[in-house]
């Protein structure tokens, strides 16, 4: 069975298509692992064996008839609990949605279901995707499978831990400021945030709408390419979904890297990065040079402003988005209140956790009368400068590389008392979201305490196929992405 949990999606797909393996057998294997290992990791919020097996039986029927089967039919996946999933509890990691059974499917869920994938369950996350350590979840923190005293990263920490511990071969994640890439780095897997607008946000519970983007998390770039093929595409129900021709993100996977120009922003290689992370990233760059790439120095002079600009823009958008949670149409309602105003303010006070409340308050403040220009408009102008830096840098290079996270996974409680310290965990990932660029993280070695280090690749707008090619060739030459945490069984 160890070969199955470590298999690529392509190999699983081939075994399913050849009927050497049934979708029910495969789903059962992962459900049994979840039952056994999840209590120690807390990666899943909800599982439902009957629902999962019903989907698996349907996939087996499709595979048997061959009618409508795709490369993903019968392959299990788990969804970050930010994706509305019809008939499943969808909590967004919050008490305010703790009993919310979604009456509809997110576009991403609809697409993956349509491709025949089998839902293993709903994955834990920072509340409303606000966090970099999974410590803000109402359902308790997710543990890092490499060391359960350390955080898995966030906000897609459940997705990262589930793949890392081989509780699922594929998962969905979302990335507003690094929430796919940073947990992928901290748990030793591969994750991709697409260009803004490539994956539909319909049914993906909104945090900061101009930054939120869904994407795949898996063991390898090749697996991510296969998943992205099924996740991407125009959706009229998302007003910022882009009308572009469908792409095969696997098309360039095997292209040789000779002559590839890798831009190294000097701002990403400064004092902020831990020494152990630097060693692993430098070794990865040396490997790329062996593969024929050349590295060039580039500069992103305004990238230092990305975290403060983000902490104006994201809370502003969040304060607006989260106003929908009022205890009227869905979600938690306080048991006692004197009038309508108190019903709102008490339901929200009892339903939201501390970090979510902080961001709502910051957002409300920066948008309030008299402060809008000084904070929100100024942050949007700086956002333009940050995006402009990337336009200039991509004139000099094909992809940009650097660390995903300034450190390996940190201990629980290390940053949770100081919000600003926690915000700085995303110092290398946030600029990508502000610019709307695609980004990836892939494992490139181990640092202190033998914890995984992630290499970040930033692509040009719509450069997903190029990034996947660059990541895949590295993964053919190295085996970091095949490493699995020990001591779990």
């Amino acid at each position: 069975m160890s070969d199955l949990i470590n298999s690529s999606l392509r190999d699983l797909s081939a075994a399913l298509a050849a009927r050497k393996l049934s979708a029910v057998e495969l789903a059962t294997l992962f459900l049994d692992r979840i039952e056994k290992l999840n209590p120690a990791l807390n990666a899943f919020i909800t599982t439902d064996r009957d629902k999962t097996l019903a989907q698996a039986r349907a996939a087996d029927a499709t595979l048997k008839s061959g009618d409508g089967a795709t490369a993903l039919t019968g392959i299990p996946a788990a969804h970050k609990d930010i994706f509305c999933t019809r008939g499943w509890r969808t909590t967004c990691g919050s008490k305010i949605l703790a009993n919310f059974i979604s009456p509809y499917d997110a576009n991403v869920v609809e697409k993956l279901d349509g491709a025949g994938m089998v839902t293993l369950g709903k994955l834990n996350m920072d509340e409303f995707a606000m966090g970099s350590s999974n410590e803000t979840s109402y359902f308790g923190p997710v543990k890092n499978p490499w060391d359960v005293s350390c955080v898995p990263g966030g906000s897609s920490g459940g997705s990262a831990a589930a793949i890392s511990a081989r509780l699922a071969p594929a998962a969905t994640g979302t990335d507003t400021g690094g929430s796919i890439r940073q947990p992928a780095a901290l748990c030793g897997l591969t994750g991709l945030k697409p260009t803004y607008g490539v994956v539909s946000r319909y049914g993906m519970i909104a945090f900061a709408s101009s930054l939120d983007q869904g994407g795949p998390m898996a063991k390898s770039a090749e697996d991510c390419a296969l998943l992205l093929n099924a996740m991407a595409g125009f959706d009229a129900r998302d007003s910022t979904s882009l009308e572009r021709p469908q792409e095969d993100y696997r098309r360039d996977l095997e292209k040789p890297l000779a002559g590839l120009k890798i831009g190294l922003p000097r701002e990403f290689f400064g004092a902020g990065m831990d020494a152990d992370v630097r060693v692993a990233v430098d070794a990865a760059l040396a490997e790329y040079r062996k593969l024929g790439a050349v590295t060039v120095d580039v500069s992103l002079p305004n990238s230092g402003l990305s975290v403060p600009a983000y902490y104006v823009i994201a809370p502003a958008e969040a304060s607006s988005n989260l106003s929908r949670f009022d205890g009227v149409r869905y979600g938690y309602r306080a048991p006692e209140y004197a009038d309508l105003a108190e019903m709102y303010s008490r339901s929200r006070a009892q339903g939201f956790g501390d970090e979510v409340k902080r961001r709502i308050l910051i957002g409300t403040y920066v948008l309030s009368h008299g402060y809008y220009d000084a904070y929100y408009l100024q942050a949007q102008k700086i956002r333009r400068l940050i995006a402009g830096d990337f336009v200039a840098a991509f004139k000099e290079c094909d992809v940009i590389m650097g660390p995903t996270s300034p450190s390996v996974a940190f201990a629980f409680g290390a940053k949770s008392a100081d919000p600003v310290q926690m915000y700085l965990a995303d110092i290398y990932t946030i600029s990508t979201n502000l610019a709307g660029l695609p980004g990836m993280s892939l494992p490139c070695g181990f640092g202190n305490n033998n914890m995984p280090v992630g290499l970040q690749i930033i692509g040009n707008w719509f450069g997903e196929a190029k990034m996947l090619n660059v990541a895949h060739r590295y993964q053919k030459a190295t085996d970091w992405h095949t490493r699995m945490p020990g001591g779990l069984e």
Binding site: L242, Y330, S345, A349, F352, L361, Q380
Partner: protein, 95 residues
């Protein structure tokens, strides 16, 4: 500038979040830390820079004015805290 307890109470009221007296104090300190951190944006000269509201410059799509949604009232109200006769119930607002 930094926020005082009255500012925090005003922002909390705008955000429809009930805060206890103790919470107002910790919130004031934490919000001031965060505002101190974002204060560095003020030093940047952004004269003549167009604000960037979105990652991609797209114009709003228009669609023909035809009904595209079917009736989901029963589905949607099944998850509501309190409904009656197809209506959402809230505390009385008009005497």
């Amino acid at each position: 500038m930094s926020l005082n307890l009255e500012d925090v109470a005003r922002i909390a009221r705008l955000a429809r979040l009930e805060l206890s007296a103790v919470e107002r104090e910790t919130t004031r300190d934490q919000l001031n830390d965060i505002l101190g951190f974002i204060e560095q944006l003020q030093a940047v000269d952004t004269t003549g820079i167009e604000p960037m509201a979105h990652a991609v410059d797209v114009v709003q799509r228009l669609r023909p004015d035809v009904v595209t949604e079917t009736d989901h009232r029963a589905d949607f109200q099944a998850v509501a805290p309190e409904t009656e006769a197809g209506l959402y119930l809230v505390p009385r607002v008009v005497e």
